[in-house]
């Protein structure tokens, strides 16, 4: 306490800086995390007022119980084909992540990001929405593309920034974009996509369209002003949009407490704005599906936005540039009490007699082969290391619809420079 400012009967203040429960060397302990029993949370009518979700935001929508049974009012009662399709998509995402991660390590590209443990959040949401609804994702929803059958080869070509890259080598790996698949361009600037999704949804409402939008954002990025603006506009104009907060509890090396996660849930933000909010077990594909379907129904019925927190855990490092053992205990992900989303859905399918180990094994191998084949095809079109996208003229295109004089001149300068090299 510094003298000058000392005053009688006034206690000295001190700064509170939240700290995670465990750092490298500590034993990770998730026992304090409250996990309501699957099926225990009530499901309000889709047409209920937003205020009817006020206490739901402090609990968790959970459908799959410990034995893989689907229980309670949120059970979406999906047919086996859909369940199998979701399982397949999640497995494919994981295989794809592993291959691309390895490709980066092999120097075939500059950067990669996995979504291990978060596959259900993207895959189940994609299946719960219509094919012509639009997604405004972050870099951890590659599952959306997989669920919409976006060609793996194209994804890989983008990651390799090679001749086949639909984005012409302009974007960092994994910053996918594809209008035809309703997958909006991923931005490197966190949170910017959320108010954009709200604007898209407002436009859909303005035109009397019936398509809705969904946006994803990480726990850490919710601190950006963009998020606040997004929720404000969405609420005010009752935009038909689903605002997904993926709370994987980490933002690079920073735990969610620094984003306010120790004070309340991220789903509780919805209460603050007076919109509908849900908090979901993000590792439970059926819960994610059910919550998304509920929110989509509300949006389509002109009842406005829903904010959904997907409670999960970032099992791997932030990206290939990150080593999480520098700031949190090793193997923390394996201890996450809500388990692995792929394994949980698999167990459910098995428990209802619609799946078995052989089929799982076979599918695992088939997917691995599919990805290997796609990788060969993609690498035939080059990698960042060798044969990346190279077309000097294109560097100066798409800045504007037509090229102004200064870009024409600069293109010619660049071409001349290339000739000299």
């Amino acid at each position: 306490m510094n003298k000058e400012t000392e005053r009688p009967n006034r206690p000295a203040l001190s700064l509170h800086v939240p700290e995670p429960d465990a750092r490298p060397g500590d034993e990770i302990d998730f026992s304090h995390i409250e996990i309501p029993a699957a099926g225990s949370l009530r499901r309000p009518d889709v047409a209920a007022p937003a205020s009817d979700t006020r206490e739901l935001v402090y609990s968790l929508v959970r459908v799959l119980d410990h034995d893989g049974a689907a229980v309670g009012p949120w059970d979406p009662r999906l047919d086996p084909d859909t369940l199998r399709r979701m399982l397949r998509d999640m497995m494919l995402v994981r295989v794809y992540d592993d291959r691309m991660y390895r490709a980066q390590r092999q120097g075939k590209t500059s950067f990669y990001m996995k979504c291990t443990g978060e596959e259900a959040i993207a895959v189940a949401a994609a299946h719960a929405m219509d094919r012509d609804d639009i997604f405004f994702p972050t870099y951890r929803q590659q599952g959306l593309l997989v669920a919409r059958d976006y060609p793996l080869v194209k994804m890989m070509c983008q990651v390799y920034s090679n001749k086949g890259d639909p984005l012409k080598g302009r974007q960092l790996p994994i910053m996918y974009s594809d209008r035809g698949h309703g997958f909006f361009s991923i931005s490197g600037n966190l949170a910017t996509q959320v108010p954009q999704a709200v604007g898209w949804a407002m436009a859909s409402a303005i035109k009397g369209d019936s398509r809705i939008a969904a946006a994803w954002i990480g726990d850490g990025a919710t601190a950006e002003g963009d998020f606040h603006n997004a929720v404000t506009f969405a609420g005010v104009y009752r935009a038909p949009v689903i605002l997904n907060v993926v709370n994987n509890q980490w933002a690079i090396s920073t735990f969610s407490g620094i984003a306010g996660g120790n004070l309340t849930t991220f789903a509780a933000r919805a209460v603050g704005y007076g919109i509908a909010g849900l908090r979901v077990d993000g590792n439970d594909a059926l819960a994610v599906y059910a919550a998304t379907a509920w929110a989509a129904d509300r949006a389509r019925s002109n009842l406005g936005p829903t904010l959904i927190e997907h409670f999960t855990y970032r099992v791997e490092g932030h990206s290939t540039s990150d080593d999480p053992t520098a700031y949190r205990p090793q193997g923390a992900g394996a201890k996450w009490p809500l388990g692995d989303p792929v394994e949980r859905l698999r167990r459910h399918l098995v428990s209802i007699g619609e799946w078995d180990d052989e089929r799982h094994q076979a599918q695992q191998e088939a997917l691995a082969a599919e990805v290997r084949a796609a990788q060969r095809e993609a690498e035939a079109q080059g990698t960042l290391g060798s044969g990346h996208y190279e077309d000097i003229g294109s560097l100066f295109e798409d800045v504007f619809e037509d090229q102004p004089w200064h870009l024409r001149e600069q293109r010619d300068e660049a071409l001349a420079e290339a000739r000299r090299k």
């Binding site: 361009s185 709200v198 604007g199 898209w200 407002m202 303005i206 963009d226 404000t232 619809e401």
Partner: protein, 337 residues
Amino acid sequence: MTVRNMIEALNDAHDVMMERDGDIVVLGEDVGYFGGVFRVTAGLQKKYGTSRVFDAPIAELGIVATAIGMAAYGLRPVAEIQFADYIYPGFDQIISEAGRMRYRTAGEWPLPMVIRTPYGGGIFGGQTHSQSPEAFFAHMPGIKTVIPSNPYDAKGLLIAAIEDNDPVLFFEPKRIYNGPFEGYHDRPVTPWAKHPAAEVPDGHYSVPIGKAAIAREGEAVTILAYGTMVHVALATAEAEGIDAEVIDLRTIVPVDIEAIEASVKKTGRCVVIHEATRTAGFGAELAALVQERCFYHLEAPVIRVTGYDVPYPHSMEWTYFPGPARLGPALRKALED
């Protein structure tokens, strides 16, 4: 043909375009029922309804970002930022998002959108109702920047901006909303009615983005100006009896390089004027371009006449404002050398 001041001309541009194209929507603070603090959107909500003209929360970031989303959907939003001084909360969405979307999506997601905002000083607005931030937007790719200087151009350029398939920043010099201003704050203001450029055609017409206008022909020296400064330049040339050629740039990105080169190569002398702070202002770009491309025609250095590198003051507004008292000597100097 109707005599209109700049506000009426801009309002008419909205009306003409909204009538023709149901995809045009207008949003911004106080633009709806009230029609905007400068009345530019007056009457539009009544005519086109609340789902095409509506008030926005006080959140410039959200205004720009939702406009981006609307443009991504396929609409053509026209967003108003109440004062250019308040555009900064939306800066990231303009610079990092709007300006790059066509590029980063390889052309799949162009963003036809306009951001209009009243700008510039001369109204005793103090440091947060007077700024001229045009240079910021000229520095980052993917954004066109337009600045009209009279009612005819204001309507024609705004229509061109709305029809453009790229994001356009449209700066409206608020000091000349109601009448041209030559920089003599102590003289009575003349309304637009007395000015030929207030003869504004009814209905649809456009003034091309990227084309400058020769506001005054001359042989002795070239003055590069835009917005309010065009009137300062014209008045100063008259007052000083200098045979100056005044180029009204109208668009600063893309700038009309042919017009600039042709004039400077003819006169051999160049003075650049803007109201914004000098350092790294757009005048620096103009001076750099001119000396790069007309070096061997220049008989004197390019002179910059600008606002000073201080926050826009309140009581000493006229000390700050670059009027004839600053431009005159600069012109004479350009001719001496």
